[in-house]
């Protein structure tokens, strides 16, 4: 399972990107998007912003849950009070690329071993998954508020802090 996480500012400009894989079920936390589909992630996430614009006014919830789907990619969204969007693309595909030589063979073997059984039973829109993703978003929101408290941080500024990235990666390891 692979994830692509993006923070999008109020002008629909990307502020932060992070790619990671699952750490549950013995995953090693490395994203395994198909090489030929990887570049599509940004487009898929960007296109889901239209749906965010529509659903964000219904009820005023911050966590908008599962909002969009493109083939086997599921988009989850969380919108902060300041209208900054956290978008998570979730690809439950456990496929391993044929040229996996660059990665450790042990990790590849493990992924393919549970891949067959997991892909048939796994449901990316199940309440348990939504809850796990919510916990991830909430933890990122905490770090995000700390980021914008920086007096030098201006609206829609890119986040380059390695500490921020480390915190997001830690939240991803913990919940996803």
């Amino acid at each position: 399972m692979s994830y692509y996480f993006a923070i999008v500012g109020t002008q629909d400009n990307p502020l932060f990107e992070h790619e990671f894989g699952t750490s549950k079920q013995g995953g090693d936390g490395v994203a395994r998007f198909r090489e030929e589909a990887r570049h599509m992630n940004q487009f898929i996430v960007h296109s889901s912003l239209d749906i965010v614009d529509e659903v964000q006014w219904n009820g005023g919830q911050m966590y908008l849950k599962h909002i969009d789907r493109f083939h086997n990619n599921y988009i989850f969204c969380f919108i902060t009070a300041g209208s900054v969007k956290f978008l998570l693309l979730h690809n439950p595909d456990t496929h391993t690329p044929p040229n996996a030589s660059s990665r450790s063979s042990a990790a590849t073997a493990r992924t393919s071993a549970y891949g067959q059984s997991a892909s048939t039973t796994y449901n990316p829109t199940a309440p348990a998954v939504e809850e796990a993703i919510k916990n991830f978003f909430v933890e990122v929101y905490d770090v995000w508020v700390k980021t914008i408290m920086n007096p030098f941080f201006k609206l829609d500024m890119k986040v380059t802090s390695p500490v921020f990235r480390g915190r997001v990666a830690a939240a991803a390891r913990k919940h996803l």
Partner: protein
């Protein structure tokens, strides 16, 4: 005015090391390279404070109830006004500059105060204001309490224009030590607070045309007697929402908060 924004104590370690001259050269080199846990500090050129704590290590509720001395605020505010007054073309321009100084504060306070209004730190907020009324209530209670330790005195909707709302404050704290010269009697330095309100509204996605601060009895033509009344410094913050916000409000109706 309470000082709850975590001002950056991190990222400047040079003053501390400068205060201990003999050991400073020996102490500083290990600082960027040491301590695991954070991803390659030396690699990014990021400088860490000597206690290794960044803003990400601070609890957001830490300074929740901390207050700033009024004298310190008054001193800083006077400096802000005189800074804004440089090369200014008129009263409207000066008020615009004060407004711009408050604007980023509003954007940030919206997120921070919603975060802090959560029932517990383990249960962060799940909703945000998306309608005009909940947002204005947030401004008059939560925001006002945070800034001035008391709620605003009144919240009204303009009878003449459905897109205009008025928040009134009988005695704005920011104006308490300011006496406006006679030739500038139109000037209201609470434009700074108006800027904070504008930031909150815009941040929440409810775009405003303008938010301005007015003395009561002027501009609106609302009776000269109010000036000599119980609250000589009474100020009204006039919030004008953009037409699309009003339109959306009508379409969405009472659905949701």
């Amino acid at each position: 005015m309470s000082s709850s924004r975590p001002l950056s104590n991190p990222s400047f370690n040079s003053p501390q090391s400068a205060s201990t001259p003999p050991t400073a050269p020996a102490v500083r080199p290990p600082a960027p390279s040491g301590s695991a846990g954070t991803p390659q500090p030396g690699h990014s050129g990021l400088r860490y404070p000597s206690n290794r704590k960044t803003i990400y290590d601070r609890n957001l509720n830490r300074s929740k109830n901390a207050e700033l001395s009024r004298a310190a605020f008054a001193y800083l505010f006077v400096e802000m006004i005189s800074y804004a007054q440089r090369r200014v073309t008129g009263i409207a321009d000066l008020e615009k500059r004060l407004n711009e100084q408050g604007y980023p504060l509003g954007l940030k306070l919206l997120d921070l105060l919603l975060y802090r209004s959560a029932p517990s730190s383990t249960q962060p907020p799940t909703t945000r204001p998306t309608r005009i009324l909940p947002l204005l209530q947030f401004i008059t209670t939560t925001l006002w309490r945070h800034l001035f330790s008391r709620p605003a005195d009144a919240l009204e909707r303009s009878a003449a224009n459905a897109a205009e709302y008025m928040v009134s404050d009988n005695e704005p704290l920011v104006n308490s030590y300011i006496s406006v010269p006679r030739e500038m009697s139109q000037l209201n330095c609470a434009a700074f607070v108006a800027g904070i309100i504008e930031g909150v509204c815009d941040g929440a996605g409810l775009k405003t045309v303008s938010v301005s601060a007015h003395w009561v009895g002027e501009g609106d033509g609302g009776g000269a007697g109010a000036k000599e009344g119980m609250w000589p410094g009474k100020t009204i913050f006039l919030i004008k929402f953009a037409p699309e916000v009003i339109e959306r409000e009508e379409i969405m109706g009472g659905k949701g908060g």
